[in-house]
């Protein structure tokens, strides 16, 4: 194996010393990816605008009836679900806080259910415990196929919750299941770009819900406060 193929892979021998070329390439790549991300965000929002408006109207009605929002996902999507729950429950800037919780937040509950009944049931069993027919389930997935999310969405649908799914690629099982009232599909093959657009769809859902509530809210005096 004495063949000299080093010229094919100029940096494989670790001879590279000048970082400037790499840094310039990285910066160009970052700008390309950021442009790709915002283009996908724009096309996703444009494609979902009507659905977001419809979903937000129903979210507002359910919150007005005392409903709660449960968000869930796996991995990075669990954290995006948590960001959405925090946005609803603790919005900055004087917006109305709304009852929302992230079902991956409690380590005791998640590990107890995962260990005792299986990971596919970690979210559905919590919905069985907590949810009522006026509540809302929001599932974040990039593939649209996660078994724990599909099981939870089936449970949510059975219980009369408003069911919302965020998926990527072609929507996967979420899009084809018939279990969802609203399914927002980010048409991309990149997990990263999908998550960046899903975050914005979640933000838009929240913003439109706030607008709906602001329009329907009577003056504060005498208004029933539900938390």
């Amino acid at each position: 194996m004495a063949e000299n193929t080093g010229f094919l892979y100029p940096f494989i021998d670790g001879d590279e010393r000048d970082a400037d070329t790499l840094l310039a390439d990285l910066a160009a790549s970052a700008r390309d990816k950021a442009r790709e991300s915002s283009a996908l965000q724009r096309s996703t929002l444009a494609g979902c605008a009507e659905q977001i408006a419809d979903a937000a109207a129903q979210l507002a009605q359910r919150f007005d009836r005392g409903g709660r929002l449960y968000s869930f996902g796996n991995g990075g999507s669990a954290t995006d679900a948590a960001t959405l729950a925090a946005l609803f429950a603790r919005p900055a800037g004087g917006h109305r806080p709304l009852p929302a919780m992230n079902l991956a937040a409690d380590q005791a509950v998640v590990t107890a259910l995962g260990n005792d009944v299986g990971f596919d049931l970690v979210f559905s069993r919590q919905l069985i415990a907590h949810a009522s027919g006026s509540d809302i389930a929001v599932a974040f997935s990039t593939s649209g196929n996660s078994a724990d999310l599909m099981t939870a969405l089936a449970e949510a649908s059975k219980r009369g919750l408003l069911t919302i799914g965020l998926a990527g690629y072609n929507g996967g099982e979420m899009a084809g299941s018939g279990l969802l009232d609203f399914c927002f599909v980010v048409a991309s093959q990149s997990v990263h770009r999908i998550q960046e657009s899903q975050a914005l769809v979640g933000y838009e859902l929240w913003a439109a819900t706030q607008r709906n509530l602001a329009e329907t809210t009577r003056p504060t005096i005498g208004r029933e406060v539900r938390m």
Partner: protein
């Protein structure tokens, strides 16, 4: 009370200008060098904890099959300074998502050089002052809800993607981490190292035990006494020569 439309939350703008792209590139290479030398990355986001968890899972369990898993951990204790101080070892990375006014994060970033940790600060709105962290990755958007629109997610996704590109350039990873913002002695222009006092000296003329990027040591504090645990000092040739302000 108005809620912004997509146009006003910045997705139509050029969300990553040349300056931020250059900052991201430099931060990525610094991260790759640290990881190459065995760093753990400690992830903080006191106001938006999910971002700390997302950063950690991004590096620990990459979405692209075959990319190496890197040690990254979210820190979420109520006393973030105490938790980070005990977690971070020399050579590690501390990365935070936080506004410039976040007192705990400011304090942690200020102390990171004494722990030998590379500091990276991601945020939006008013910028923190220059030099407050080794790498500042900032979005100039005053909307307090910007953290919930996916723009920080984009930022640490890019940081992850670029860091892994750097691993394909082993020749650029070999330099030992030396980019932790050391200051210089004003009288002799020689090296000055940031030190954090571990405990008050036992007596008036006793040395103080301090922590620096090089580990623990005892230093003369005659010039700056009295000192107490947690004080930051600039150490030169075995003596603390000045305090480093709040």
């Amino acid at each position: 009370m108005s809620v912004d439309s997509p146009e006003t939350i910045g997705i139509t703008a050029d969300i990553l200008d040349h300056g931020l792209a250059a900052d991201l590139s430099a931060a990525s290479l610094a991260l790759a060098r640290r990881f190459h030398h065995g760093a753990t990355m400690w992830c903080l986001a006191p106001q938006w904890e999910p971002h700390a968890h997302h950063m950690a899972v991004e590096f620990v369990h990459p979405v692209i099959v075959g990319k190496r898993a890197l040690p990254a951990v979210a820190l979420t204790a109520p006393d973030l300074l105490a938790q980070t101080r005990i977690a971070a070892r020399s050579g590690d990375i501390v990365i935070a998502v936080a506004g410039a006014a976040d007192i705990a994060v400011r304090d942690i970033m200020r102390r990171a050089p004494a722990w030998g940790a590379l500091s990276v600060w991601i945020g939006s709105g008013a910028r923190p002052e220059a030099g407050c962290a080794d790498h500042v990755l900032w979005i100039d958007d005053d909307d307090p809800l910007a953290p919930a629109t996916g723009r920080f997610v984009l930022m640490y996704h890019l940081l992850w993607e670029l860091t892994h590109v750097c691993f394909e350039h082993p020749g650029l990873l070999g330099e030992p981490p030396g980019d932790c913002g050391q200051q210089v002695c004003v009288t002799c222009s020689d090296e000055g190292r940031l030190a954090e006092v571990l405990a008050s000296p036992a007596g008036a003329f006793a040395q103080a035990r301090v922590r620096t990027a090089d580990g623990e040591e005892s230093v003369d504090v005659t010039l700056v006494s009295p000192v107490a645990a947690g004080d930051l000092l600039l150490v030169h040739a075995g003596s603390a020569i000045t305090r480093v302000g709040q």
